[in-house]
């Protein structure tokens, strides 16, 4: 793929951005494991690790140490790596990128990584589960941001022409915006269920679960509608079709993982106990299958968030007028297979 765009003299910022997004995903996964294994306090000090400078902590002690210490220290190292990538990104962007808003966003990315690291540190220093939850909600938000940023820097981004908002576009734009809100909310609800403080009452947890379920259905319905709308109105616009398909696919996987998470943690509900597999099901606490199912549910959650943000970015790019980029008529973008008589090209918006 050719990387580079009219606004960027070098392909490197885009490459850095892709690396940043790709490194953040495993970071989220490991962070999820930290919570799954309740390993947040496996290393009780911060920014040091058992008194050592974090980077100087003996590698063998780390690799051979207890599992929860392994993932917590690993999470810190991986986090630092992401921080360093963010620095590299900034250097590259400031040397090569002319668009001011992208420079600003690069700084935002770096600041976000730093704050997230500090937040994680405070969670340890104050041993506060509420902070852990905020840290857990901020991570996926950053991941979604990193994905969107990589998309902004890609050469295709500036090739797409913008600024034709008709009724169907308006609907799609609105639906994608709501989708982002719903998925993020779902993530917060999920995080609240994972970071239970000890004295939450059964009634409160029940409310959380019910909201999480209703919201899951709302998201599923939402993405189904979006998929139909986009397929009907822009059947050849890959920039929209791919993300919407991605979200749809991920949401289906996520629904299954959600059921799985419940089962591996709390067993089958009473009403399926007529089946032997349910009546005899034994929960294996902290087993690999349990931890991986639960953490996968968490990680896919942030992937869904990122994919919906991508979709929103793509719709906004196509349907919102922006002054920043060259405004070519939409149909000039051949890759997005326009030339459609209805839809985008017809009703221009001032």
């Amino acid at each position: 793929m050719h990387v580079g765009s009219p606004n960027s003299i070098s392909p490197w910022p885009a490459r850095w951005a892709i690396v940043l997004a790709c490194a953040t995903f495993p970071l989220i996964w490991v962070g999820g494991l930290v919570t799954t294994y309740d390993a947040g306090m496996a290393v009780p000090d911060w920014p040091t690790t058992y008194g050592h400078n974090m980077f100087a902590y003996p590698v063998l002690d780390w690799l051979r140490g207890p599992w929860d210490m392994f993932i917590e220290h690993g999470h810190r190292l991986l986090g630092s790596l992401v921080g360093m990538i963010a620095i590299g990104l900034n250097v590259s962007v400031f040397r090569n990128e002319r668009r001011g808003w992208l420079r600003v966003l690069a700084v935002v990315a770096l600041l976000a990584v730093i704050s997230q690291g500090v937040l994680g540190g405070m969670r340890v220093r104050f041993d506060n589960r509420q902070l852990a939850m905020i840290h857990g909600c901020f991570g996926p938000a950053f991941f979604a941001f990193a994905v969107a940023y990589a998309c902004f820097l890609s050469p295709d981004w500036s090739k797409v022409s913008a600024g034709r908002l008709d009724r169907s576009g308006q609907r799609i734009l609105r639906l994608s915006a709501v989708l982002v809100v719903l998925t993020y909310l779902q993530l917060i609800l999920g995080a609240s269920m994972r970071h239970l403080t000890s004295q939450i009452s059964p009634d409160f947890f029940r409310i959380l679960v019910i909201f999480h379920l209703i919201n899951a259905l709302a998201i599923a319905a939402h993405i189904a509608v979006l998929r139909v709308r986009i397929a009907a109105n822009f059947p050849r616009v890959l920039g929209l079709l791919l993300p919407v398909r991605g979200v749809l696919y991920l949401v289906s996987v996520q629904l299954a993982l959600g059921v799985g998470t419940w089962v591996v943690k709390y067993g089958w509900p009473e009403w399926v106990s007529n089946w032997d597999f349910a009546a005899g099901y034994l929960i294996a606490a902290k087993s690999h299958s349990q931890s991986m199912t639960v953490t996968a549910h968490v990680a896919i959650g942030s992937l869904i968030l990122a994919a919906s943000v991508l979709l929103l970015a793509q719709t906004a790019r196509r349907f919102l007028p922006t002054g920043a980029s060259p405004s070519r008529p939409y149909s000039a973008d051949r890759r997005d297979g326009a030339n459609r008589p209805s839809g985008l090209a017809m009703e221009a918006v001032r």
């Binding site: 210490m69 403080t197 004295q199 947890f205 709302a218 099901y281 606490a285 902290k286």
Partner: protein, 431 residues
């Protein structure tokens, strides 16, 4: 677009919820008082307790057991309780979750158990309302799956076994992945919570008869005799509770060995047949609860000990929809006093055709269940002949019980589609 507007409203509602959620800080780790039982005894004895007595009980418990972050174990003169309550072990499971320098995991209870069993071991952790059966409330001091007789405490090994094996078919997980030391520590902590909770209940039971106050801290240094007498009563009560745990280790029911050759197909077939007769007979009377086809549908209106207290103190309860006014009255009164209590449910006898044994599937486990019953549930202990007692048609010998075991364990392989094996035989043999 109505659909979109609907979405917007839901979104707004969700956002509001999210903001509220983030607002709450880590709550302090404290034990919760057993308000439901307090209210229950008040109501049952029709007395109104001195409003200070609630704090008195809190003080007694705090000075004997400490707080969740800093537990102590009560010292009772002449009672060596280190085997059941070892402070070092209790401490490892208590408090917040972290790992110390040499990688020893701390705060095990909060890491592994609290979301079901609750900070105070009251079975009212956040997830409790979704689980069936509800997580165990240790405070009543009743445990189901153990090798000791009816009404006795489980042994150390019983608890270790439950934690390692888990309870299949319930939310109680197997903690096989934990170290032996971690399991040991958790077992001590379960006993700690159970003893604390049971003492709390016993103290509440003392309240109606106590002359003045259970413990008046103002007496200290002024009327030492009286103050000491108050503590003596309390210690006596604590001793009663703890002694039972200490003694449990000696009370394992001996399980007589089976005669050689019991596994031969012929002997086994005869034993199963004998077991079937007993199962449907008057003495063992198993079918009356487990049902004519052993599907667990004979007596579906039973309640367990934990629920009974919230309703009617009776063996039966017709279900939420058919609550009598008195039951509803009591439940609502208790719920108002202790809003965390969960809605009552019936307990179902086990469906024996699934071959699932929550207390363990080895023959000896099933033997123990039949002989000891399952504490806290309607499942009774079988009337067993004492060693040396002359045969008696109203009782079962240990061989009879082994036959019941064989029959029960064979049920999962027996075809239920052959009605001749079941209903008609049942009716005939019931007569």
């Amino acid at each position: 677009m109505r659909f979109d507007r609907g979405c917007k409203n839901t979104t707004a509602a969700f956002l509001l919820l999210a903001v509220t959620l983030c607002g709450c800080a880590d709550p302090p780790a404290v034990f919760v008082l057993n308000d439901a039982y307090y209210a229950h005894i008040e109501r049952k004895t029709q007395t109104t307790f001195d409003p200070r007595s609630r704090d008195d009980i809190g003080l007694i418990l705090a000075s004997s057991f400490g707080e969740p972050d800093d537990p102590y174990v009560p010292l009772i003169a002449d009672l060596d309780a280190t085997e059941i309550l070892d402070l070092t072990r209790v401490k490892q499971s208590s408090g917040r979750v972290w790992s110390d320098k040499i990688g020893i995991a701390r705060g095990l209870y909060r890491e592994h158990c609290i979301h079901c069993h609750g900070m105070s071991g009251d079975g009212l952790g956040p997830t409790a309302s979704f689980l069936n059966p509800y997580p165990r409330d240790y405070r009543m001091g009743i445990f189901k799956f153990k090798s000791t007789g009816k009404g006795l405490k489980p042994t150390h090994d019983d608890l270790v076994r439950i934690l390692t094996e888990g309870i299949p078919g319930t939310a109680m997980p197997s903690f096989k992945v934990l170290d032996k030391d971690e399991i040991e520590s958790l077992v001590h902590y379960v006993r700690y919570l159970s003893i604390r909770g049971e003492l709390e209940r016993k103290l509440i039971e003392l309240l109606p008869d106590v002359e003045d106050r259970l413990l008046d801290d103002a007496l200290r240094g002024k009327q030492d005799d009286k103050y000491k007498a108050q503590w003596d009563t309390i210690r006596g009560t604590a001793r009663e509770v703890m002694e039972k745990w200490v003694q449990a280790e000696q009370e394992v029911l001996p399980v007589p060995a089976r005669p050689d050759g019991w596994q031969d197909p012929e002997t086994m077939r005869a034993s199963v047949e004998h077991g079937r007769k007993l199962f449907y007979g008057k003495v063992a009377n198993c079918f009356s609860c487990h049902g004519d086809s052993a599907l667990g549908d004979g007596q579906t209106q039973g309640v367990d000990a934990w629920t009974r207290e919230l309703l009617n103190d009776k063996e039966q309860f017709l279900g939420l929809a058919k609550m009598t006014p008195e039951e509803r009255d009591r439940f609502e009164y208790l719920k108002a006093r202790d809003p965390r209590i969960l809605p009552p449910r019936n307990i179902r006898p086990r469906n024996l055709r699934q071959g699932i044994f929550r207390g363990g599937r080895r023959p000896i486990d099933v033997y123990l269940r039949i002989v000891n019953g399952i504490d806290g549930t309607p499942m009774p202990s079988a009337p067993l002949l004492k060693p040396g007692e002359a045969p008696n048609p109203g009782k079962l010998s240990s061989d009879d019980v082994w036959s019941l075991v064989d029959y029960v364990r064979s049920l999962q392989y027996e075809s239920i589609s052959n009605p001749n094996d079941h209903e008609p035989v049942v009716t005939r043999e019931r007569l």
